[in-house]
């Protein structure tokens, strides 16, 4: 095997019956196969097969929505890692934080990553919203997708806020105490809503468990639902919309 070549191995794999049964098109060196790469793939098929070249420019969207999406992906992965060591109870939750920091290999890394990705997601969503506003990319037919985006922003804030309580340290406890007291001020619904959210009159074990369920199950599900709608509609409304486009009136030909 002195003349062993990696490309030969690649060809061997690509020509095997098993590989051909999974990836049903050839190498993407023709436009037909490049099209098949996109629309035969569940995860890529939200893309059109061809895109306008100007959408590739960095300043078209600054990738802000994409960055927010990647942050949420990182959050889901690192969040699942953290769940393996976390008990939503008092004072075990705080001990688990200490365990992550001082005992678990890479525990501090995943916790940090989760924390900073959360900040990035909130910040990215805010910047993305401003970008869309100043580019006037909410214009018809995209009005409703803007509304979906506002819902996503609120869900993002709620996700971040419910996660804030989970370490059960002073920062978490008082941040949530103050925040839920704000909710209490809402007329009529404020007090019962706070009681339901906290499962009591004070921030206690019940509140921690409820915030945990909201943070790990309910809100991520809602986020994924609306995120799917959001991305689907981008495609249906004609792709990503960059800066306002000039009228083509100068290019009119009789």
């Amino acid at each position: 095997m002195s003349s062993f070549q990696l490309s030969a191995l690649g060809a061997l794999i690509r020509n095997s019956a098993v590989y051909r049964s999974i990836i049903r098109h050839g190498v993407a060196n023709t436009n037909r196969n490049r099209s098949l790469v996109v629309f035969e793939n569940l995860f890529l098929h939200v893309h059109p097969v061809k895109v306008r070249e100007k959408t590739l420019k960095f300043s078209h969207t600054y990738w802000l929505g994409g960055i927010t999406l990647v942050a949420s992906f990182v959050l889901i992965v690192t969040g699942i890692f953290l769940m393996f060591y976390y008990h939503p109870s008092v004072p075990q939750a705080y001990r688990d934080m200490k365990e992550l920091m001082f005992v678990v290999d890479n525990g501090v890394f995943y916790r940090n990553m989760h924390r900073w990705a959360a900040h990035l997601m909130v910040f990215g969503a805010l910047l993305h919203m401003l970008r869309v506003f100043y580019h006037r990319a909410y214009k018809p037919p995209r009005q409703f997708n803007w509304v979906v985006g506002v819902i996503l922003l609120l869900v993002t804030l709620l996700l971040s806020y419910t996660g804030y309580l989970l370490p059960w340290d002073q920062l978490a406890f008082w941040g949530v105490s103050v925040g839920t007291n704000m909710a209490k001020e809402a007329p009529l619904v404020g007090k019962p809503l706070r009681f339901l959210m906290l499962g009591g009159n004070i921030v206690s074990e019940n509140a921690l468990l409820r915030f945990y369920v909201l943070h790990c199950v309910v809100l991520p599900t809602v986020l994924l639902l609306f995120l799917s709608v959001h991305i689907w509609r981008i495609r249906k409304d004609g792709g990503v919309q960059g800066p306002p486009e000039k009228d083509a009136s100068d290019e009119v030909e009789p």
Binding site: W174, S177, V178, N181, F195, L196, S204, E205, N206
Partner: protein, 164 residues
């Protein structure tokens, strides 16, 4: 909805409806009722029926411990017990603004909240800052020997101090 084409419809006087329209309404109504019932059941389920929160009444020493001008801060119960001019009274230490725990200010003889800068005097009245109401007074009872019991769940009007 399932509307028949116009030509097969019998002539309807205003207020009448076809059997299909009526049954559609009945079906939709049943769906709405089911949904409402489910929502109410879930809401009821989510409301805790027993709370394991600390008891609301506690013993607070003897009347004799509170001559005029003493302020004692019971941190565990979040209550100030004050020997005032008119007698002993108890006052919640929970800031009326957003629920932070206030503290006595050393030297100035007032009470301050660390969160948003509210300040109160020793009667609980707001002297500065965002707090919307004075600190509520709480019920104090004394037995024959002068032992005090404070109930933090009962709010009494300002000025009703326990005369001894």
């Amino acid at each position: 909805m399932l509307d028949e084409t116009a030509d097969s419809l019998p002539e309807l006087t205003p207020g009448e409806e076809t059997r299909r329209q009526f049954l559609t309404k009945v079906g939709l109504g049943a769906c709405v009722m089911t949904g409402l019932g489910a929502a109410l059941t879930v809401a009821d389920y989510l409301e805790p029926k027993v709370l394991f929160e600390p008891p609301t009444s506690f013993r607070a020493g003897n009347v004799a411990d509170f001559p005029e001008g003493t302020v004692r801060f019971n941190q565990e119960q979040k209550v100030y017990i004050v020997g005032g001019a008119a007698g002993v009274f108890a006052m919640s230490a929970v800031c009326t603004h957003l629920g932070c725990i206030t503290r006595p200010v050393s030297g100035e003889g007032g009470i301050a909240c660390p969160c948003h800068g509210s300040k109160f005097d020793l009667e609980g009245n707001v002297t500065h800052g965002p707090a919307p109401h004075p600190l509520p007074w709480l019920e104090v009872k004394a037995d024959a020997a002068g032992n005090l019991t404070v109930d933090t769940s009962v709010v009494i009007p300002h000025g009703k101090a326990l005369k001894v």
